[in-house]
Symmetry: C2
Subunit: 452 residues, 2 copies
């Protein structure tokens, strides 16, 4: 196959089966496909239908599907199960998946669920739950194969055959000393390729990149991406390995973080998706539009201060959309560049002043270009050179203020440990609206005798 | 280490060495660190300094660093080398890295470089170059280990020991039949864990997800992400394996594609980064602001059509920023949601009408909420109920038009195989500006007798 499995035909079949009350038929359609696709179909159904089908899945299948459901359905489904049903599902999962599902639940429910697991498993999950959800600790898989450094390659392979570790992706094996401290890494490939009697200490790579449980998941993503790693070991303060993060876990993180930044730049709630109910979506958008309203009214108030000027020189009004529009556009350009560069780790702390100087210079160059264009337009269109000069100067000043706002707002938010993408767009366009209108109408008021 | 290597202290040391004309000292500082970090430092230097240090690196180091340089420095450096120097560097690289470096060069230079490679290597690279840069073919690594299905686990391991394949990340081994067609996959882990005499055919997984060389890299990213794969095999029309894509290659693709969408939504050139020269950045931003100019002038022209109304009811001007601003904001919300959902594969073709109905309903709900708020504001602030009614109705109509434009523009671009993020923002805000001003001032003109 060359495409992601197209869920629509199966979804249609499932709906047809449900219409005929053929729950077993619908369930067997769902059970036959990949859990990720099954979850995508279940997310499209009414919750009651989802629940009916889910109840008929075998426990292992149910566990695989539950992990893949979107977070709203997952939570709702979790709350509709009995404690025993839920504990049985959790017992089927790898510790990191179990922790992911448990993260959003009430402490009492988490405790009841952990009590039903076998002690070793529940310790692993409890350990994972103790870390922040967006940290390396919250993301890592705690099943790791470690090998003592004094083993030979063949002994290590024999040991692996005997252990038959269950977890996926044991492609890098971590080598530890007598005190269980991480001293090196060896790829399963190098282990297989090495002479059978070579000790691990002689074939391992001692230069291991690690992160700690507190490392932010974005920082982990940058490490994997920058150094092209397939796996990142997570260690405690004594350099004992407590888990690993795989590249495929990080793909989801990167998509999530990019979506979050993009949505926040557009004043959208990052939880919104196209499958939300109308009511939930409206409420979420309303919130952000509501945040925007006072700032729009602020701009309106600035304009209203110049009623007298506007009533005498109506032609000024035509320039308002141009100056505010171009300023807003330039401000969002700068803002997006800075926010994305910070996310990718290209603009580090302490480089703010350099970025500001750079953006102001670009704003000034572009401001002179567009200010001149608008000035000429004003002279020709309205036949008034002074009007052109006022509009052109307002454009220049507004493009510089756009550069300043686009740089300073995200850097300031970051300084206070607030996501730089959050609400930056509203603030930046408010600054450009207010500055643009104030410059245009203010200068016109001062020079009113040359304009009428 | 828990952080990405901080290049600044080393950069300072390198600069200090360069200031004392100690080129060898600077070079040994660079040679001592990871190629990705070395490249990050070189990208910060003047091109002449970069060139001087690069010339002193050993060929293998030079090759590793060249791959990691940003695309502008890479191209400039490539063009400053003699053909022999360049060919020697390319000969050190894996075929996929070599193809990446060659992609942007002139055909004549590519030919001269390939002619200097050994024939097998040059065939591999030529094959990769024949695919589109953003397709699976352009991204894949063509060195793949394949094993015949009739080998036993131990024979396969012995064969691997003997072949000692050079390439990284041989964690999945692909099993082929006598005609070299892909019939299954086995992880190196399963191979090591399996009984020594088990034939591969009995332990392999026959359910292999594949892509073809033409598959778009975004589609490959979605496959890896949805099914949590660490590697995706790429096959030709006869299902013969021609390459693999690893999860760590896809991390860069996902970051690139997200950056591209974000920049395009903000009318930024996706090539821009904070390290560009001022002139290059200004020119790139000017282009997009220039695209925006005619649309801003269109909005200005619409406003100017109502000069008569504006001069009689100056209070209308105060509402212009609110109605245009809120409309633009709502339009960008819808646009970003739709563009990102398309990128993540959540809104498939054929679901456009459903998305449109949904967005229009949200626009209408929010339009009624904000239209009422603005109407009340208008009555209280300006003491004129009819003015409030006109402003409120304009707000309602503009939020619905924002929903329509935010949905229809990206879907239409996609239909014509244009990136939905490209220029969508400019079009959507033009629609909301023009609709907002036309509704507000048009209704005011019709109802002028009640307003003055």
């Amino acid at each position: 196959m060359t495409k992601i499995f197209d869920i629509r035909p199966v979804l249609d079949d499932v709906r047809a089966a449900l219409d005929q009350n053929d729950l077993d038929g619908a369930t067997s359609l769902i059970a036959a496909i990949h859990p990720a696709d099954a979850a995508a179909i279940l997310d499209e159904l009414e919750f009651q239908e989802l629940q009916d089908i889910f109840a008929r899945l075998a426990p292992e299948q149910g566990a695989d599907v539950l992990i893949e459901l979107d977070s709203d359905s997952q939570l709702e489904l979790t709350q509709s199960l009995t404690q025993t049903q839920f504990s049985d599902l959790i017992a089927q999962m790898e510790p990191d998946d179990a922790a992911d599902v448990l993260f959003d639940l009430e402490p009492a429910q988490i405790e009841a669920t952990l009590a039903a697991l076998d002690p070793e498993e529940s310790d692993d999950v409890r350990q994972l739950l103790s870390h922040a959800e967006e940290s390396a600790g919250g993301l890592m898989n705690s099943h790791v194969v470690t090998l003592r450094d004094r083993l030979t390659a063949q002994q290590a392979i024999d040991l692996l055959r005997q252990l038959r570790p269950e977890e996926e992706n044991v492609y890098y094996l971590f080598v530890v000393d007598a005190a269980e401290r991480l001293v090196g890494v060896i790829s399963l490939r190098s282990l297989v390729m090495a002479p059978a009697n070579a000790p691990l200490a002689s074939i391992m790579d001692t230069n291991v990149l690690t992160a700690t449980v507190e490392t932010d998941q974005e920082e982990c993503a940058r490490l994997l991406s920058r150094y092209d790693l397939l796996v990142l070991p997570i260690v405690d303060d004594e350099r004992r390995i407590v888990g690993v993060i795989n590249a495929d876990d990080i793909i989801d993180v990167i998509e999530e973080e990019a979506t979050e930044d993009m949505y926040r730049l557009a004043n959208l709630s990052e939880d919104e998706d196209v499958e939300d109910t109308l009511f939930r979506s409206s409420r979420r958008r309303l919130f952000w539009l509501f945040v925007n309203l006072p700032t729009a009214i602020l701009a309106a108030w600035v304009v209203s201060r110049f009623d007298g000027t506007v009533s005498r020189v109506t032609a000024l009004v035509s320039f308002m959309p141009i100056i505010a529009g171009m300023g807003g556009n330039a401000g969002i350009q700068t803002l997006t560049l800075i926010v994305r560069s910070m996310a990718l780790g290209e603009v580090a702390a302490g480089q703010g002043l350099r970025a500001l100087r750079r953006e102001m210079a670009i704003g000034a160059i572009n401001g002179i270009a567009f200010g001149s264009a608008i000035a000429v337009l004003g002279m020709i269109w309205k036949g008034n050179p002074m009007l052109g000069l006022v509009a052109g100067s307002a454009m220049l000043l507004n493009l510089i203020s756009a550069a300043v706002a686009g740089t300073v707002v995200p850097l300031t938010l970051k300084f206070f440990h607030i996501d730089p993408a959050l609400a930056s767009g509203v603030i930046v366009t408010t600054v450009t609206d207010v500055t643009g209108y104030a410059c245009l109408l203010g200068m016109a008021t001062l020079l009113i005798s040359y304009l009428v």
